[in-house]
């Protein structure tokens, strides 16, 4: 076994992402800044050219990527030595883990996450898969007096009654931009550029003015569908 990493390098519309400092513009022309950007990556699987697959053991396969904490940009795990041509992972937390006993929810899955940057809904038990927050002159003044937008996207399909399922699996063919060569004593790094502009722009171009707060609602499905397009495999460092 040897170490491998996936790097989630957040960008915004082709530029580097800077929290609070830079104003970006979405597809429908609304200016906005970003104060918080974070998401879960889980259930990592790798496939060789011959079709054999390696699934990273589930207990070691949950990562919370936080733009505010550069140390979290790498998902770090161990794989058997070999050449991997395809990678897949879930954006969010699978339904099984979302309903597991609390003793199995440690580390980034601890539902203790604080109210401000927590990634867990207490009132409707489940994880928030992705959070994007910031300000926009187009957002209406909220009860706190700010012009903020808040996207908290989650929903694992429901426990006793079916409801929205925003669990998204991303599968990337690595051959075009570099397969991952796992070798003893080296750490292959699969480097993604993650364009958070895709949260707003895509099949649905999201208006911040019309949807300043998207949380557990039917509309959240549009945003989750949008962000499946945000992962660009840029290169692999072997």
């Amino acid at each position: 076994m040897t170490e491998m990493t996936i790097e989630f390098d957040n960008i915004m519309g082709g530029q580097n992402l800077f929290l609070n400092a830079v104003t970006y513009t979405n597809a429908i022309g609304e200016p906005f800044t970003v104060s918080l950007a974070q998401y879960y990556i889980s259930n990592i699987k790798l496939r060789k050219a011959d079709g054999t697959e390696y699934t990273v053991p589930q207990d070691s396969s949950y990562f919370l990527i936080k733009e505010s904490d550069p140390a979290t940009r790498f998902a770090r795990f161990k794989v058997p030595v070999g050449n991997y041509h395809q990678l897949s992972f879930i954006v969010g937390v699978d339904s099984l883990r979302s309903t597991m006993d609390i003793t199995k929810r440690t580390g980034v899955l601890d539902p203790a996450g604080g109210m401000d940057d927590g990634m867990y809904w207490g009132w409707n038990s489940g994880y928030i898969f992705l959070k994007l927050e910031g300000t926009s002159a187009m957002a209406p003044v909220d009860p706190s007096g700010q012009r903020k937008y808040r996207f908290h996207i989650g929903g694992f399909g429901g426990y006793s009654a079916p409801t929205i399922n925003n669990i998204k699996t991303i599968t990337t063919d690595l051959t075009a931009s570099g397969i991952a060569q796992a070798r003893t004593g080296r750490t292959a790094n699969i480097h993604y550029l993650v364009d958070l502009m895709k949260v707003l722009n895509g099949t649905t171009n999201v208006s911040i003015a019309a949807n300043p707060s998207v949380m557990f609602s039917d509309y959240s499905v549009n945003i989750a569908n949008n962000y499946t397009g945000m992962f660009y495999h840029d290169h692999t460092e072997n």
């Binding site: 539902p111 203790a112 207490g122 009132w123 426990y159 079916p162």
Partner: protein, 287 residues
């Protein structure tokens, strides 16, 4: 002294010795014979005296709130069947008010979903909601864990309960669950009749017959709830609380709330999800 008195005194001591033994022996979770199997995974959190007592201490621990003023027991008062007597909607930190009535804590091991809208599917996850709710305890779990870690008693109590003085989200929630699932209502007159230990009076029997005809389809025996979510036809509340549909996003679930148990009903007033009925008779009249 008269021989008869001696017999009485010895008999009395016998009773005392017996009840002392009863108190000292902690029986753990006992399945009432006329109840179904519990929903809660008892095997995953076996009730011990030490963890139960830790859970009880946590339940009455005001440090679980932001300014150490409100405990679980503030809105779940034992003498009112663990409800907040005299409050239509729950009254929390800084005199803030919630939007729903505090439900009793009773027979939770048999309850598949919690809160009036059923948004919480595991008892171990339930306390996170009131602890973090703005109008209830307004605290964070990391803060309470730190408060408990720096307390003189808690590390030792966790050590006794779970074999480690480490205080985690999981052990804290498991201890609270142990206390809550032990709040069992299974010794009413009804239960004693069902177990063949006594019998109803003529009036009680008539009431029971009527109940089975008119009420039992939702307030099903022996828990006196079917744990379903129903719109019972009362007017939409002034705050337009949509209930179950908030967690399912299903328009058909609008204005549905969990059917509450009728056990201890004489202590759980006021009634309904928003406490709008002060007397049980008002609900019957509304039917």
């Amino acid at each position: 002294m008269n021989k008869k008195y001696w017999i009485v005194i010895i008999g009395l001591f016998g009773v005392l010795a017996c009840s002392k033994e009863m108190i000292d022996r902690f029986a753990g979770f006992q399945q009432p014979v006329n109840f179904p199997e519990p929903v809660y995974n008892i095997a995953g959190n076996e009730v011990t005296k030490e963890a139960f007592e830790l859970g009880r201490k946590l339940f009455y621990e005001p440090r679980l709130s932001r300014n150490n003023t409100v405990s679980c027991g503030s809105c779940h008062i034992q003498s009112s069947a663990f409800t907040q007597h005299g409050h239509d909607v729950s009254h929390g930190i800084d005199d803030r008010l919630g939007r729903r009535n505090s439900p009793p804590i009773m027979n939770l091991a048999w309850m598949p979903a919690f809160m009036w809208d059923g948004g919480v599917f595991d008892l171990d996850l339930q306390p996170i909601v009131p602890i973090t709710a703005h109008e209830e305890m307004d605290e964070t779990i990391p803060n309470i864990l730190n408060k408990l870690r720096s307390h003189t008693d808690y590390p030792g109590l966790y050590q006794k309960a779970f074999g480690s003085s480490e205080i985690t989200t999981a052990t804290t929630m498991k201890a609270l669950s142990q206390f809550m699932i032990m709040c069992i209502s299974s010794d009413s007159k009804y239960d004693s009749v069902m177990r063949g230990k006594s019998s109803f009076t003529v009036e009680e029997q008539a009431g029971y017959t009527l109940f089975k005809q008119k009420c039992n389809s939702c307030h099903s025996e022996p828990l006196f709830t079917d744990n379903a979510f129903r719109n019972n036809g009362i007017a939409i509340g002034l705050n337009n609380d949509e209930g179950r549909s908030e967690v399912t996003l299903n328009p058909l679930d609008r204005y549905k709330f969990k059917v509450p148990s009728l056990r201890n009903v004489q202590f759980t007033a006021p009634y309904m999800h928003d406490g709008r009925f002060l007397y049980s008779g008002s609900r019957v009249r509304s039917l």
